[in-house]
């Protein structure tokens, strides 16, 4: 039932347009992520869905219930939307015990005492917090508070779960465990979830689909693989992971949609296998780990997209080496699992790893 539809949201903060025609749909049971830098409108979108902010235009619906429709002046108050939400600060009420925090939404729903008790204990068990029932929030660690916040959002079986940067206050180790745990729980319960984050690792590792946002607009919606491998534009390429951007002129259309690009300011040519008939001035995105490095005298790979390069700096980063190389005035960052000797080397860019972003 809970398919979330967000259509043409517009929200203005004074002169600034916080949301500019934002639309997307979330399938039942899907883990959908809004990813973007701060100020991109992702939290405004989430708060509009939750009912804490009112857009000037657009429509928000969950299942067959319309929560917000500017054209018909419908705006269901936040408390009647029946959504579960976990805030960045967790917002666990400090003057109530863990039990009372979880019992509150059920009291509001006028459940009997016994029913409240059994349900709270059931959900506490689900989040593995049973022993902490009588504790106050200040007696809990950050990770435990987060579990309480999640339990409180789940206790009344909301139709949709909204997560607003819930991991940003945890330290790095705990964050990874919490991510895996939340993802597992979401999957097990089949919860339709909208997740807001500025952390691309989090977005890629947890989501079924990701919407990348910038300046109040949705830039691209796709699976994590899509947005990483086939970024729709320069912003997505740069924001999701690191990227080399190579500028040039699309010169010749090859077979199977491939395009040959004359690299600007250099005699090099770059073949892109999925150019989609690009023409004129183009920017090509190449991920650092997609580039392969070979010794200068290696002849095993030949021909297309294999360039001579001078090594600038090499940094050892534990599980890989990071090269800054210069291939005929084209600076490239390359991530290599092995050390390639010599000041002059060869680089190879697989045509399939190139994406035209402009």
């Amino acid at each position: 039932m809970p398919e979330i539809r967000v259509q043409n949201l517009v929200k203005q903060f004074g002169e600034q347009r916080a949301l500019d025609d934002v639309s997307f749909a979330v399938e039942e049971g899907e883990f959908f992520t809004l990813l973007g830098p701060s100020g991109c409108g992702k939290s405004t979108t989430l708060m509009s869905i939750a009912g804490f902010q009112q857009p000037e235009a657009g429509l928000i619906a969950v299942g067959d219930e319309t929560f917000f429709d500017a054209s018909r002046k419908v705006a269901v108050p936040a408390e009647l939307r029946n959504l579960g939400i976990v805030f960045q600060s967790y917002a666990v009420w400090p003057h109530m015990t863990v039990f009372d925090n979880l019992a509150f939404p059920l009291k509001v729903r006028k459940l009997k005492r016994a029913a409240i008790r059994s349900r709270v204990l059931e959900v506490l068990e689900l989040v593995e917090m049973t022993p902490y029932e009588t504790r106050y929030p200040h007696q809990l660690s950050g990770g435990q508070q987060q579990r309480v916040a999640l339990a409180r959002a789940l206790v009344y079986s909301p139709s949709v779960l909204l997560l607003d940067e819930p991991f940003s206050n945890l330290d790095a180790k705990l964050r990874e465990r919490a991510r895996a745990w939340v993802k597992e729980l979401q999957h097990r319960l089949g919860l339709t979830t909208i997740f807001v984050t500025h952390d691309q690792d989090e977005a890629l590792s947890m989501s079924d689909r990701v919407a990348v946002m910038s300046a109040g607009e949705v830039q691209q919606i796709g699976t994590p693989e899509d947005v990483y491998r086939r970024p729709a534009n320069r912003f997505v390429a740069e924001f999701v992971g690191r990227v080399n951007l190579i500028e040039g002129i699309a010169a010749r259309i090859g077979g199977g949609g491939s395009v040959e690009v004359e690299v600007a300011g250099s005699p090099l040519r770059l073949t892109v296998s999925t150019g989609h008939g690009a023409s004129g001035h183009v920017t090509v995105a190449v991920r650092p780990e997609a580039v392969t490095l070979m010794p200068f005298d290696d002849t095993s790979v030949n021909g297309i997209n294999t360039w001579d390069a001078e090594v600038g700096t090499v940094a050892f980063l534990g599980d890989h080496y990071e090269y800054e190389v210069n291939a005929g005035h084209v600076p490239l960052t390359v991530q290599s699992s092995r050390l390639v000797p010599g000041d002059r080397i060869k680089v190879h860019i697989p045509p399939g790893a190139c994406a035209v972003v402009e």
């Binding site: 939750a50 408390e79 009647l80 029946n82 349900r119």
Partner: protein, 580 residues
């Protein structure tokens, strides 16, 4: 296999019976009625050729022409402005110095001084003026001792500079609090950076610390200037005998001595004072906005390197002690002594003149006894009611989607800028015009209570707002998301978290209301007397002993209640004034 807990469904939350918007509208309307309401009849009264209670009458600017044609009125303005400027100068410089000494140096006993320096603003203001008069006034105890016996020059507190000194000693804590807040909030690494660049501590003080205080000084200065223009007790009790008239005492005298009661020119003068106070408040709002650019981000207080005073450590502490003894302890002791002797004179040892007669008056004389009873009832009921209402209005102002919420902070701070005597005149006219309701208010203590509550309501907001701002908004959003409406969320989540500020507000309001007097001077009648108004009228008639005893009652209640408040609720007075 057991079902996953998620398959269970629950009833959906329902709409609450009383919609939030109804409550929010009601709150807003009450605020507007109480704060703007009394000024409408005041302005109306200033534009009529006869008092409002007389039938007929036409709109006219005659009251303004009468007023502006009176040279004494302009003379009173000149006196008032000189007085206010001098008061501001003394209080701001003094407050800033004490704040720097207490927060940035290793002054001996700096923490204790930081608390004691606040006493003058909390002690009953009228009582303290009486204390000053008993000790330092013309014919006062120490005045006669020094000038008549020792032939030394003394402080003439019945001159404008003298009155400014008395008023400044009361208002200095405002400058102190503002500067202290600014200093403890400022990032000490700014000062550390100057030290690293090679500046000596004293140079850092003058080139970094004091310039950073500039917005705080301007802000405190504007507030002190506004408050001192409104002073009534000082010009009435100290200035009148010396024929120094201020605007407030001009209005008071015109009202009480007029051949036709309640002349329109008094309302015209009140409107003019109100306009000046409003302009000053608007100016202050702009200054507060400009202050943001001096706020340094990410300050960690508490680990600042203190400026070492070395051999000045103790002498400066001595100087500060002398100041406190001189301005606070001596007037209070003077009052206490006065209340126990027949006459306070250096010619006869006080113990030979001991009497308890003044204290007997407090319960034997009806007016005195009723004053104490009425003040106690008004203070308790008024403090409870105002605190509860302001808590609600503060929630509407800062935690609701109410359409006009942004007007509430300005409205709630407005009475702070309004002279008490003008609030009194405003309510006087408002009660006259509201028929049976107004009559019942005028004939009971509740009319005076309402005026006192409105006058002191800004303090409740100033205490509660900073605490509310620290309660994360996500806490109430979580309540809304859980299915609770605005009022239920406010009641079960926000208000419980606001409890410390609510208690602090109650204590502060109780003390302020029990000591308040100027809004009541035109409202009291036999039967509805309150302590401050009784003290003022009796002292003017020359009843010194029992008035001193009554003032001591105020002082003792104030100190006891504040001590209980500090102990039980752990209320620390912080830079709350800043929010004003």
């Amino acid at each position: 296999m057991t079902t996953t807990p998620y398959e269970q469904t629950f009833p959906r939350p329902r709409r609450s019976l009383v919609p939030a918007w109804a409550l929010q509208w009601a709150t807003w309307l009450v605020v507007v009625t109480l704060i703007v309401g009394p000024f409408i009849p005041l302005i109306y009264a200033s534009l009529r050729d006869r008092p409002l209670y007389e039938p007929g009458g036409v709109l006219t600017t005659q009251p303004y022409r009468d007023l502006f044609g009176d040279g004494a009125f302009w003379h009173a303005w000149a006196n008032t402005l000189v007085f206010a400027a001098l008061t501001t100068l003394i209080a701001v410089i003094g407050g800033a110095l004490v704040a720097i000494l207490c927060t940035r140096t290793d002054l001996a006993g700096r923490r204790a001084f930081g608390r004691l320096i606040l006493l003058p603003i909390l002690l009953p203001s009228l009582g303290m003026v009486l204390g000053w008069i008993v000790v330092w006034g013309p014919g006062g105890y120490l005045t006669s001792m020094f000038s008549d016996r020792l032939h030394l020059p003394t402080l003439a507190i019945d001159t404008i500079p003298g009155m400014a000194l008395v008023e400044a000693s009361r208002l200095l804590p405002i400058a102190f609090l503002t500067c202290q807040a600014a200093l403890s909030r400022a990032d000490s690494s700014l000062e550390d950076a100057a030290r690293s660049a090679g500046a000596r501590p004293l140079r850092v003080l003058f080139n970094i610390t004091i310039p950073m205080l500039r917005p705080a000084l301007l802000n405190a200065g504007t507030l002190i200037f506004t408050l001192s223009i409104a002073a009534l007790g000082i010009p009435l009790l100290l200035g009148t005998s010396n024929n120094i008239i201020f605007v407030s005492s001009y209005l008071y005298n015109t009202w009480t001595n007029a051949s036709t009661p309640d002349p329109g020119s008094v309302s015209a003068g009140a409107v003019m004072m109100l306009a000046v106070a409003t302009l000053l408040l608007l100016l202050r709002n702009r200054l507060l906005g400009a202050e943001a650019r001096f706020v340094s981000v990410g300050g960690k207080s508490g680990r600042q390197a203190l400026l070492r005073l070395r051999r000045w450590r103790w002498p400066l502490a001595g100087l500060l002690t002398f100041y406190l003894v001189f301005t606070t302890l001596v007037p209070v002791l003077g009052l206490a002594a006065m209340s126990f002797v027949v006459v306070l004179t250096p010619l006869v040892a006080p113990w030979e003149l001991l009497t308890s007669a003044h204290w007997h008056v407090l319960w034997e004389d009806d007016a005195f006894r009723r004053s104490i009873q009425n003040s106690a009832v008004i203070a308790v009921v008024g403090a409870v009611a105002t605190t509860a209402f302001v808590a609600l209005a503060t929630l509407v102002a800062h935690r609701s989607g109410f359409r006009f919420r942004r007007t509430l902070p300005f409205l709630m701070l407005y009475p702070r800028a309004t002279p008490g005597i003008i609030i009194g005149i405003g309510f006087f006219w408002a009660y006259l015009l509201t028929g049976a309701f107004g009559d019942s208010m005028r004939d009971s203590i509740w009319g005076i209570m309402l005026a006192f509550c409105v006058r002191n309501l800004p303090l409740a907001y100033i205490v509660m707002y900073p605490t509310l701002a620290r309660i994360g908004e996500e806490l109430d959003r979580a309540g809304r998301a859980a299915g609770a409406g605005w009022w239920r969320t406010s009641r079960t989540i926000v208000l419980p978290l606001l409890k410390p500020a609510i208690f602090a507000s109650f204590i502060l309001l109780f003390v302020e209301i029990i000591n308040d007097y100027d809004p009541a001077v035109f409202l009291v009648k036999p039967g509805t007397e309150v302590m401050g108004a009784t003290m003022l009228s009796q002292f003017i008639q020359g009843t010194v002993g029992p008035v001193s005893a009554l003032a001591m009652v105020q002082v003792v209640i104030t100190v006891v209640v504040l001590a209980i408040g500090a102990k039980v609720f752990k209320i620390g007075v912080t830079g709350g004034e800043r929010g004003a």
